[in-house]
């Protein structure tokens, strides 16, 4: 079923367009506006974004496929990102990843570089590793949607996830 861009999302994009002398600069903001609503960027909206910004679809795809922050497939309602970079890894973030995945009912056995996001069967949670989230002093850290969680102990995985329903 084709996706429709809600009026308020298009308004946001129109507003963002006024902030740059060149339309292409509004590409990241446009994708953020769409992802903010759908939780990812649906493939059928690539053409819409391209037309809106007077770009070629390939120019939208270049950006969509490069940046880890943009998702091309639907994540869970609550998307978890666990930092795996040095300080958090030293603080046990790999153990935390395993515990969070297990608790959220997510099978990560086919995660790889090109498919880093795994979704729970019930669609409630998804999870992936992220690189340094700039909170190294309070590791291990993870984000759940926009929220940062610091010094997360594996044994607190259940308590953390129960906050999101």
């Amino acid at each position: 079923m084709p996706h429709q861009v809600p009026v308020e999302v298009e308004k946001e994009i129109d507003q963002r367009l006024t902030r740059y002398p060149d339309k292409r600069s509004a590409l990241l903001p446009a994708l953020h506006a769409i992802q903010g609503h759908f939780r990812y960027v649906p493939e059928d909206l690539v053409q819409w974004v391209a037309a809106k910004l007077e770009l070629e679809p390939i120019q939208v795809m270049e950006v969509l496929t490069f940046y880890p922050g943009f998702r091309q497939t639907e994540p869970g309602r609550f998307h978890i990102r666990v930092c795996r970079t040095l300080s958090c890894a030293m603080a046990g973030s790999h153990v935390l990843m395993d515990k969070l995945s297990e608790t959220a009912g997510i099978d990560r056995s086919h995660a790889d570089h090109h498919h880093p996001i795994c979704v729970s069967k019930d669609g409630r949670f998804s999870i992936e590793f992220a690189e340094c989230l700039a909170s190294c002093g309070t590791g291990p850290v993870c984000m759940v949607n926009d929220d940062l969680h610091e010094q997360v102990r594996p044994e607190d995985a259940r308590k953390l996830l129960d906050r999101y329903s």
Binding site: L28, V63, Y67, G69, L86, M90, L133, C136
Partner: protein, 461 residues
């Protein structure tokens, strides 16, 4: 207005809180009324009566060096805008904080956004800029909202927008969110990203942003913290500012300590007035129980590692790691760099192979892919260190790993090539024996398929 800090967040006596004066402050909020009631925007009021050239001179006198990682003097950078320029001038605040080990700009933006905004308006006025952008990493969504709200508050008070403080100076500041790529912290990668493209950095020369930056117009890119320093430089004057810190390493900076210490955290110190030993053993409460120091990465993961038992030649004396003053010149003289201020402490419980592998996985992931040596080399380095960690490496692999690193270093469009190769170069130079010991003599002549060789060993997925 007296200052108390939240429980457990009182600054250490060795600190000098200027930029971080309001971080964790009891009763402090990011709103403009709080900022104003504490003397906020007085620097801007002073700046707007000065000639832009005067402000540039103050910042030059102050000698503040970039706090994002490169440590280049901000006043000098501003001076690179071509004289007689008629194109629009842009100011970009680099709020992409992503250097592993670094966590300081985050707190400024979340808790004291007006300090940054004031610094940006002063800077924009000094360089003749009327449109500024804050490029903020995607993973700081609340900070982006806080900054946008703060900009509107500033607008309502005539600090941003048209005819600032009744002058003829106009400035718009826009928040622009990134999307999760470390290379957007590289100033030209950032500019490409701001232009709506993949963040493939540009070669310098000729693409020095001050000459040809955003939309090929003169552009100044400064780190969040650096721009905050501008506010204080205007307040106290460049000469007074230069009395803080040490010669050629003036002012204060925020050091971020993480890893194997009792009390990781952030500490604002006068540059060069605190040593590695004071930072780690006194301010951070020392190492974990029963542990000894093995290594320190002193300036973000791109900085060359320092070995605990190394001796360093500093001017005419020989010192150990604990005595290194935490300033740009001293750390450079010790063969590393002050960088972003991200200090990562590694104790004797850690396997160097594991540490290096983690770092290599980071750079392999973050390489933009534009330059062949980095694109291919960073992944080779990761795969070789995967093998070493898994105990499936040939003894020759350490030499191979080293040679790959040196074939990236100096052969790329941007400094990411150095950032990716310096960890491998320095860890091997300083811990060669340990890395060799992690290899397997039995595999000396084995032909290893780098693709299948223990992909399972990689803990990165």
């Amino acid at each position: 207005m007296s200052i108390t800090y939240k429980a457990g967040k009182t600054p250490h006596p060795f600190e000098y809180r200027m930029i971080f004066r309001n971080i964790d402050r009891e009763g402090y909020d990011p709103g403009i009324q709080t900022y104003l009631s504490d003397g906020g925007y007085e620097s801007l009021k002073k700046a707007i009566t000065m000639a832009p050239a005067e402000i540039q001179a103050e910042v030059k006198t102050a000698g503040v060096r970039g706090r994002g990682g490169a440590g280049f003097p901000a006043g000098v950078k501003w001076g690179f805008i071509p004289p007689g320029n008629t194109k629009p001038v842009y100011l970009i605040c680099n709020a992409d904080e992503s250097e592993p080990g670094t966590f300081k700009d985050r707190y400024i933006m979340h808790q004291d956004p007006h300090q940054l905004i004031e610094g940006m308006v002063i800077t924009a006025f000094a360089i003749g800029c009327h449109t500024a952008y804050i490029y903020i990493r995607e993973e700081f969504p609340y900070a982006a909202q806080i900054l946008e709200a703060a900009i509107e508050e500033a607008r309502a008070n005539r600090f941003v927008g048209k005819n600032i403080l009744g002058s003829s100076f106009d400035l718009e500041i826009h928040v622009h969110r990134g999307a999760g790529a470390y290379i957007c912290g590289e100033e030209t990668g950032l500019i490409e990203s701001l232009e709506g493209k993949r963040p493939y950095p540009r070669i310098k020369p000729p693409y020095f942003p001050a000459a040809m930056g955003l939309y090929l117009c003169p552009t100044i890119v400064n780190n969040v913290e650096t721009l905050c320093h501008v506010t204080h430089i205007l307040k106290m004057g460049g000469t007074e500012y230069a009395k803080l810190g040490t010669p050629n390493n003036t002012g204060t900076r925020i050091l971020c300590v993480s890893g194997d210490v009792q009390k990781p955290g952030y500490f604002e110190v006068q540059v060069g007035k605190v040593t590695m030993g004071q930072l780690i053993n006194e301010m951070c409460g020392g190492l974990r129980n029963g542990r000894t120091l093995k290594a320190v990465i002193p300036g973000g993961s791109s900085a060359k590692v320092l070995r605990a038992d190394e001796k360093f030649k500093l001017k005419d004396r020989e010192i150990g790691i604990w005595d290194i003053p935490m300033d740009f010149d001293s750390l450079a003289a010790c063969g590393s760099m002050a960088g972003s201020g991200g200090v990562i402490v590694i104790d004797d419980s850690r396997s160097i192979a594991w540490v290096l592998n983690n770092i290599n996985a980071f750079y392999a992931h973050e390489s933009c892919g534009q330059c062949t040596p980095c694109r291919e080399g960073s992944l080779w380095m990761k795969k070789i260190s995967d093998r070493i960690v898994a105990g499936q490496a040939s003894p020759d692999d350490v030499d191979t790993l080293e040679s790959v690193a040196y074939r990236i270093d100096g052969r790329t469009i941007c400094a990411f090539g150095e950032a990716a190769s310096w960890p491998t170069e320095s860890f091997i130079a300083k811990f060669r024996d340990e890395l060799k010991a992690a290899t397997s003599e039995k595999l000396k002549d084995a032909i290893v398929n780098p693709v299948t060789a223990l992909a399972a060993a990689s803990t990165g997925h």
